[in-house]
Amino acid sequence: MKLFTLLRKIHLYSSLVLLTFVIMYFVTGYPMIHHDWFANPDPVKSTRTEPLTYAGPMEPEAYSRHLQETFDLRGKRQPGKRMDDGGWRFRYVRPGTFHEAVVTAAGDSVRIFRREENARTTLVGFHRLHGYGGGWLYDIWVVLYDLASLSLIVFSLTGIYLWYRLTKRRLLGWVILGISYGYAGVTVLYLMYAP
């Protein structure tokens, strides 16, 4: 298979496979850069206290998983934090919902705080879901995140090659490429060396 055909297929098929994810990241990123354009009503908050019995290993990940399964705290498990008073704090994050579980030092009860986010924050939640760990479901998400990130690099580089091979009059393309990389390069240098 010729290189042009191969790179064209890579450019095409990677975009078809990852189309939804790439578009999702650009759509969900938009409220982050134009947050004033989008309504931001207050989230719905609730708190409850539950009795707790835990006989498992005193290891944060196991403790967090136990709480999640026992109290149906949906979301990506965040690293647990030991509090100054000896208690534990665990957080669970997913687009649209945030849970925080604070276990007393005695380990006999847990206070669960829940926050139901608005539409804008839910979109941002999709965008900010990264980092491996916290559950197999979210590890799959992060693999797709990595592929979408790689695809941007692939689109860019294969796209340059495809343009070069497709067009005979390349002056305009060279000028535009020069503007693109020149401007990015100047910006990086400016930030590296500006006072």
């Binding site: 578009i23 850069i33 990130s149 689109f155 580089l157 796209g159």
Partner: protein, 199 residues
């Protein structure tokens, strides 16, 4: 669709794509870095310098005051609220951050002196910060990056649409394409909905 319109769409797809090529590279690299943290900040030695000032101490809104000082020093960046404080002598201290550099500014009103410690953070924090950066206080030049960001967002969305359209025009690749679209993007969409509903 008329061939002239198709040709126009193809030219926009190609040339707008070339225009945003560097941005997509930076976007892709910075996104990967958020997950894998391969680009570490460099730990350069701090440099200190001083400047005389006649700024009178102003009690009240320290945030606004730090902004005035930043502007008077010709620096660019965001004041860090949690690094802003007054000492026992009511001298003002604050941190200032921008992509590529961190400052700590000490204002000694009695002496009429401002001391600045600055430290460069290197290449990778800059690349990470350019991920959808729209502005940088006191830097009109960096507002251009916000314009570039906006352009590239719409170019990507347009290119996604036109790319799918161009694919549908080629009979030979339709079946494989539909399989890729269904298996990849269709499954991804269902997965997103599942994460939101039951994740």
């Amino acid at each position: 669709m008329k061939s002239s319109l198709r040709s126009l769409f193809l030219k926009i797809h190609i040339y707008a794509g070339l225009l945003c090529s560097s941005y997509l590279l930076i976007f892709g690299l910075s996104s990967l870095n958020y997950n894998h943290h391969f680009g570490k900040p460099s730990d350069s030695d701090p440099i200190s310098w001083e400047r005389r000032t006649e700024l009178a101490n102003v009690d009240g809104d320290d945030r606004a005051f730090t902004n005035r000082i930043t502007e008077s020093l010709g620096l660019i960046g965001w004041t860090i609220p949690w690094e802003t404080y007054r000492d026992e002598g009511d001298n003002l201290h604050f941190g200032l951050n921008r992509p590529g550099k961190k400052y700590t500014v000490h204002v000694f009103f009695d002496e009429g002196l401002i001391r600045v410690e600055e430290r460069r953070t290197g290449f990778w924090p800059i690349v990470n910060s350019l991920h959808a950066l729209t502005r940088l206080p006191y830097s009109p030049f960096m507002s251009l990056w916000g314009v570039y960001t906006e352009i590239c967002i719409w170019v990507v969305l347009f290119s996604a649409g036109t790319g799918v359209y161009f694919w549908t025009r080629r009979r030979r690749e339709r079946l494989v394409g539909w399989i890729m679209l269904g298996a990849g993007s269709g499954t991804s969409l269902l997965f997103m909905l599942y994460i939101w509903w039951r994740g």
